[in-house]
Symmetry: C2
Subunit: 148 residues, 2 copies
DNA sequence: CTATCTGCAAACCGTTTGCAGCGTT
DNA sequence: AACGCTGCAAACGGTTTGCAGATAG
């Protein structure tokens, strides 16, 4: 958990319910962890954290819950140099990720204007460009101050 | 194999040799496939293709050869929506990928000027930005004409 | 001639599936 | 009361490791 986070998880649980899924103890624990974290977590990390809240939790339930949250568009998989099996609350609208290489903190940003660039590449290559991935890596303020 | 490709593979084999590795039949077959393809291939795809050249090839050798080629910086892992276990000849210098969603063809491009954008995000977030990933997806000329 | 490489089989590890009992609704 | 959800154990699939024989240098 990172900070005092408002009930994002209540929203998620409501959405699960609206979509015909049941709200259970195990699911609550998983939702609470993922919804309030600012770091990409893989299934096992979610398991370990959520288990502290709901000790009887099984790893399989984590997988199944993540699957549902992803299907509802509430979380998304994050690609990083070492692995692409970690999840983060999904971006709202068109946003890109800024990841701290020190602490792993993840932040979304918008306002990328790649139209020029994309137009140029399209013209040069003949491709019709339909999507783009942009991700920035660096050090957050705290890690800049703290480390090296 | 995509087109008539010059002996990139000879360069790779020479580099393997210079680095104390041996040049063998199985390795030749793997190098030839990966060096001359314009599509990201996963280990099993490499195996199937290279096996046509060297039928006694084992999948394990493919893994071990890819590992060495990656260590030498000759190939790199490509991240795509569905998986990040495919390899491509590495970019020379600072380049980014343009991938065709139709045929899977991969092309590098340079001339991305993200300095403005990155400066803006750095200022706004306080991050010191050290790296960026940019990848474009679209349809190549052939696929635009051919499909849908 | 030696050290590396090879293919095979087995181990490994993250993920998925089958199932009987439990708990939401 | 019904059906979805749960945890366990077993299956699964891609990757890695151990090993004895083959082969590049």
């Amino acid at each position: 958990m990172t900070t005092s986070t408002p009930p994002i998880q209540e929203h998620w649980l409501a959405l699960l319910q609206e979509n015909g899924y049941r709200v259970t103890g195990p699911r609550r624990s998983v939702v609470e962890i993922v919804a309030n974290h600012h770091r990409a977590l893989n299934p096992y990390q979610v398991f370990e954290l959520a288990r502290q809240r709901y000790p009887r939790l099984g790893l399989v339930t984590v997988y199944r819950t993540l699957e549902k949250l992803e299907a509802l568009g509430l979380i998304e998989r994050v690609h990083q140099p070492h692995g692409c099996h970690a999840y983060l609350p999904a971006a709202v609208g068109h946003q890109h990720l800024l990841l701290c290489q020190g602490c792993g903190n993840a932040e979304y940003f918008s306002g990328d204007d790649l139209d020029d660039l994309i137009g140029r590449i399209a013209a040069r290559t003949g491709y019709q460009i339909k999507e783009h991935w942009l991700q920035l890596f660096g050090l957050c303020t705290a890690c800049r101050a703290g480390a090296q």
